[in-house]
């Protein structure tokens, strides 16, 4: 993990000039959600009423026919998926199924890998995320990312949070913004008396919440989380999960997790990816099933999903 791939870290003034492109497009493009039915197939008609309301939550990402290549090798094949506003969407599946690769497509993190190439479309609020005029840096400000291993900058707790806004030329009261971000990340009470200490001096769970505060500080719309708890103990894990449930009121969250139970605890919808191995031993991931988490974990539509969640795989 380098500084330059962290949220907002490699922004400069030139990059910001492109911000307007994204915004003007936002205004002139009709909402993609109006006539799109991106409900997962087989949405459970018997789900409780509070879940039914979110059937119609607007779509943030409309992914169509997305394939990802590393050179000639196809890592993920032909994914269709709609990710809905203010929901937590979990991506699960065995190693090599392409779930992390897919996640990185949602904020163009794969751009940083020279051989990576995508086919198909990712529409973000109706805008082609891979369009020529779209600035990947602005994309990453709006679509923040939290990684598997907590990766605070080698700076103070305060500066970790203030870094992104400073680079973006934030003009407001920085102390207030830092406090607000840390509060939203449920970390403020634990660090308010040691803002000058190094971000790496706090516990792993606190570091991860610091990274979430850092992502929030640049006012994103979406948070992508790539196995955010796999380096944490169970208590710190549950704290992050509770935090995610609070944050979804304000943000749309997509999480990759190896931990099926975690997907169950936090997500509204779950996408199950699996992997095919061809005769040359090449592994290509694909989406098997996407549905409400309630449905997918109690009565999945696909046999492959059933086998995976009941431990009958391999």
């Amino acid at each position: 993990m380098t500084l330059s791939s962290a949220v907002g870290a490699n922004m400069n003034e030139e990059d910001l000039e492109d911000v307007g492109n994204v915004e003007s497009k936002t205004e002139t493009t009709a909402p993609a959600t109006a006539n799109l039915d991106l409900r997962p197939t087989g949405a459970n008609q018997q789900m409780p009423p509070e879940d039914r309301e979110s059937l119609d939550a607007p779509v943030v990402f409309d992914v169509e026919g997305l394939s990802v290549f590393y050179g000639d090798f196809m890592a993920v094949e032909d994914v269709d998926l709609g990710i809905h506003e203010h929901e937590i969407t979990a991506l699960i599946g065995p190693s090599g199924c392409g779930k992390s690769t897919f996640l990185r497509c949602l904020n163009r993190m794969n751009d940083l890998i020279p051989s990576a190439r995508v086919e198909g479309g990712v529409a973000y609020h109706g805008i082609d995320l891979y369009g020529d005029k779209v600035d990947p840096v602005e994309v990453r400000r709006r679509i923040g990312m939290v990684f598997q291993k907590p990766n605070p900058f080698p700076k103070s707790i305060y500066d970790n949070v203030a870094f992104g806004p400073r680079v973006l030329g934030y003009k407001g009261n920085m102390d207030d913004l830092v406090e607000e971000s840390l509060r939203k990340a449920a970390l403020w009470d634990e660090v308010k008396d040691k803002m000058d200490e190094l971000g790496m001096a706090i516990s792993g769970g606190q570091q991860q919440r610091l990274c979430i505060a850092r992502a929030i500080a640049t006012s994103p719309d979406v948070l992508l989380m790539d196995e955010p708890c796999s380096a944490l103990d169970p208590i710190a894990t549950l704290k992050i999960e509770e935090l995610m449930l609070a944050l979804k009121e304000e943000y749309t969250i997509v999480i990759v997790t190896h931990n099926m139970q975690q997907a169950g605890r936090v997500s509204d919808r779950t996408a199950f990816f699996s992997v095919d191995v061809d005769t040359k031993g090449q592994r290509t991931g694909h989406l098997v099933e996407y549905d409400w988490t309630d449905k997918l974990f109690t009565a999945p539509s696909e046999r492959e999903t059933e086998d995976y969640i009941t431990g009958r795989f391999g």
């Binding site: 018997q46 789900m47 409780p48 549950l238 704290k239 139970q261 169950g264 605890r265 974990f297 109690t298």
Partner: protein, 231 residues
């Protein structure tokens, strides 16, 4: 103390709240059902049947929510016990609704028949006793009060006694065949009320399990026995 699983715990509370609402409903249904039988008010009987349709729908909803919570939350400790209690209560309350429908059905089946006042009084007494049990059970669950739950077998005792003696009243109500027919149906009402009483005791046992972690059947004194008493 911070609750790092507060969202799940809110879901648990909400499910419990739904079931306590059903128990509340069941209490008023017992009264409506028995009144419809003893007074011959068939409109009241219809309302019982409608209310039971709602309970049946809630039963299905709770079952679905329960399944989803179980699949997603991996409850442990007292949360796991609570999940077990909620599933058990859901089934018990649904059957309680069915018993009320049985009584309302008897009201319909005895239309125009002459009533036997002694029996009607005894049924109303049983109804009052069973409803007091239900109130006690609900209060005990709300307050997590095991001692109160242990009162339920003693409260059930007069219900059982009235039910056991009901056949004597039926025999006495003859020889007029119409009175006898009404009285025979009254015995089924009495039997339904006796079942509701037992169901409330079941809920008390579930509460004791929630509080102690030990599943046991109450004896008459409300003492739990892990091996069911032989009678």
């Amino acid at each position: 103390m911070t609750d790092i699983r507060s969202h799940f715990h809110q879901e648990l509370e909400s499910l419990e709240h739904v079931l306590l609402g059903v128990a509340d409903r069941a209490e008023s249904m017992v009264k409506m059902a028995v009144d419809s039988f003893t007074s011959g008010d068939l409109e009241l009987a219809d309302r019982v049947i409608e209310a039971d349709d709602e309970i049946d729908q809630t039963y299905l909803d709770v079952h679905n929510r329960w399944m989803h919570m179980m699949a997603r939350q991996q409850p442990m400790g007292s949360d796991l016990r609570m999940m077990s209690v909620l599933l058990h209560m859901n089934i018990t309350l649904e059957r309680m609704g069915d018993q009320c429908v049985n009584i309302a059905t008897m009201a319909n089946a005895t239309e125009g028949l002459p009533r036997v006042d002694v029996i009607a009084d005894e049924l109303r007494e049983m109804s009052d006793l069973v409803r007091a049990m239900l109130r006690t059970g609900i209060e005990a669950v709300i307050r997590r009060d095991g001692d109160e739950a242990r009162l339920l077998p003693a409260m059930d005792e007069p219900v059982d006694r009235l039910n056991r003696n009901m056949y004597q009243e039926v025999v006495k109500s003859g020889p007029d065949p119409e009175r006898l027919e009404w009285a025979t149906k009254a015995m089924l009402v009495s039997r339904a009320l006796e079942r509701v009483g037992d169901q409330v005791v079941d809920i008390g046992e579930q509460l004791a399990f929630l509080l102690t972690g030990e599943m046991a059947e109450f004896d008459e004194a409300g003492i739990g026995h892990a091996n069911a008493p032989s009678d």
